[in-house]
């Protein structure tokens, strides 16, 4: 089990604000890992930096041994790193099937899709995220839970090795959260390395065996959810923010 993602001394500044501050960690292939921290901790920024949507001021990111720091987002996707967004995004006027087809038409997605045909492959993915009966409708009329599923489906279309999920549960009811949880567990069982953020620790507690905690852009600790839940700095960070915790 080699290291799939290595992040070293990553720093990102916005004007005077340091959103990510000298941040380092490693993820092994096949891991299932969470990134937690209160709102504004810098989790989304870390994901933006890994996926190439923003350039770090300093630091390096290696995926599978290859330096991907500052690479164009689509190139990173085609190396095998897919992501979802905290705020759901979709191609408003395309059908769900076409929403997924777009990822299957990326150079990485195409390699897998070719054997089956793009539509066929896309509808398989749509089936695996539980949306196949809505293949022909556009996403504008979907409930929020389905949109979250669509996000994951779009990421899967690129055939990722590492999947970055930014707050996959935000805005969902408990039932919807359970469906997404099952989906993520299944993906991990299929061999995808999953790295996900959450600002409510409870959501991740029973899901992931390992958690990285951050606060105000800084690394705080790395351990099991139980260890993290006992950490004083983490507790203070959450209490200070008045977040729901436990």
């Amino acid at each position: 089990m080699g290291v799939i993602l290595e992040v070293k001394n990553l720093t990102k500044k916005y004007g005077g604000l340091t959103a990510v501050n000298d941040f380092s960690f490693e993820i092994k292939r096949g891991e299932f890992i969470g990134l937690i921290g209160p709102n504004g901790a810098g989790k989304t920024t870390v994901f933006n930096l890994i996926s190439g949507f923003q350039r770090p001021n300093s630091g390096t990111i290696r995926f599978d041994g290859k330096d991907i720091t500052g690479m164009a987002p689509y190139k990173i996707v085609n190396l095998g790193v897919a992501r979802t967004f905290q705020l759901v995004r979709s191609f408003k006027l395309l059908t769900l099937l076409d929403n997924i087809s777009v990822s299957c038409l990326s150079s990485r997605g195409k390699k897998v899709a070719k054997g089956h045909g793009v539509d066929e492959y896309a509808s398989t993915i749509l089936a695996s995220v539980g949306l196949v009966d809505k293949a022909r409708i556009p996403p504008i009329i979907l409930p929020h839970g389905d949109l979250r599923k669509l996000q994951i489906g779009k990421a899967l279309g690129t055939n990722p090795q590492l999947l970055l999920l930014d707050e996959p549960f935000s805005g969902l009811s408990h039932e919807e959260q359970d469906v997404i949880t099952d989906l993520i567990i299944k993906l991990h069982d299929d061999g995808v390395t999953v790295f996900m953020t959450g600002h409510v620790l409870r959501e991740l507690m029973h899901l992931v065996p390992r958690v990285i905690a951050m606060h105000q852009g800084k690394f705080i600790m790395d351990g099991t959810p139980q260890e993290v839940a006992k950490n004083k700095i983490v507790l203070e960070a959450y209490l200070g923010k008045g977040e729901v915790f436990a």
Partner: protein, 340 residues
């Protein structure tokens, strides 16, 4: 993905594939399909009504501008990139086509192809820098380049090479026979529309539309935005070039005026009047424009003035153009006539 889950989707997809085979058949049974076929048959029959060169000329102009407007609509409607310098490709192809016919004695179709390909090269030339940025830069950069082309071709200093304000004149028409010329243009129009609509429905069209709907999302789906935008831009430039070459031959010459923002405006008016992202709306807009322009043929400025007002009103109050509402009205009347 496991092989097991793959086989699950198979049945659905088969259905879809057999569906696309009968797509044309189904389409021809819809109201819109029938209307299109009736219009096409009507256009085929026009020369039976008149062989007058002038009247056929109005139809030919409308056909040429249908292609031009559709080339703009393809870019704006499918990829969300708005070009305000579509005249560049129209004009440069007009010049190159005329040049090859007049001075190198190439057959018209070869000259037209070369002219359109030079249009594509210009597309690349400005697309590569402009597409490094998102948003409206492309549109403005094309507009500025169009103006520069206008002044450059107009310039007396360059007259020995570029022909000055006279441009290139006295090029022969496609055919001496007005009816034959008419049908050649009709074929160009139908072929161009079929290709553009087909690309819109193809997988590449899906990628174009994804960029239009959410460019960040498309990039996160592993799509190389620059590459696809550039491809769309080149396709659009090609068809604008076809229109420009045909226009030069139809007018038996070309002058710097074709590079003016006015010509880009023509494309935008006609496409937006019909409705953006419809392709066929461009034809509606173009025929509407040229028939109306015929009414004001004594005062060409007045017709542009009126169309500027119409376009402002259409965009303001019916963002999606008039094709859809017109179709719905016609369908109501149709149903009424059939007593449904």
């Amino acid at each position: 993905m496991s092989a097991k889950s793959l086989s699950k989707g198979k049945g659905r997809v088969k259905k879809k594939l057999s569906g696309s085979k009968s797509y044309l058949l189904n389409w021809s049974k819809t109201f819109r399909g029938r209307l299109t076929i009736i219009c096409l048959i009507g256009l085929c029959l026009i020369p039976l009504l008149t062989q007058n060169r002038y009247y056929l000329g109005i139809f030919i102009t409308a056909m040429i501008f249908s292609i031009f407007a559709a080339s703009w609509d393809f870019l704006a409607g499918f990829t969300g990139q708005v070009s305000f310098g579509q005249a560049i490709f129209f004009g440069i192809s007009g010049y190159i086509t005329s040049y090859f016919i007049r001075y190198l004695y190439l057959p018209w179709w070869a000259s037209l192809l070369i002219g359109s390909l030079v249009g594509v090269a210009f597309g690349l030339l400005i697309g590569i820098p402009a597409l490094r940025l998102k948003g409206p830069y492309l549109g403005l950069a094309t507009m500025v380049l169009g103006l520069i082309m206008f002044y450059t071709f107009l310039n007396v200093k360059f007259e020995p090479w570029l022909g000055g304000s006279e441009g290139i004149s006295k090029i022969p028409q496609i055919s001496r026979n007005a009816v034959e010329t008419y049908y050649i243009h009709l074929i160009f129009m139908i072929t161009s529309f079929l290709i553009l609509i087909w690309i819109g429905k193809s997988k590449m069209g899906t990628v174009f539309k994804s960029i239009r709907d959410d460019d960040i999302g498309a990039e996160a789906s592993g799509i190389n935005l620059t590459k696809y935008k550039l491809i769309a831009f080149m396709i659009s430039a090609f068809f604008a070039g076809i229109a420009g070459g045909l226009f030069a031959m139809h007018n038996r010459g070309v002058n710097p005026g074709v590079f003016q923002p006015l010509y880009s405006f023509y494309a935008i008016v006609m496409a937006s009047l019909g409705g953006i992202a419809t392709i066929s709306g461009s034809a509606l807009g173009s025929y509407f424009f040229w028939f109306a322009a015929e009414l004001f043929s004594e005062w060409p400025d007045v017709s542009v003035f009126i169309f500027a007002i119409i376009l402002i009103l259409v965009i303001r109050f019916a963002e999606h153009g008039i094709l859809k509402p017109v179709l719905e009205r016609l369908k109501d009347i149709w149903d009424l006539v059939l007593g449904k």
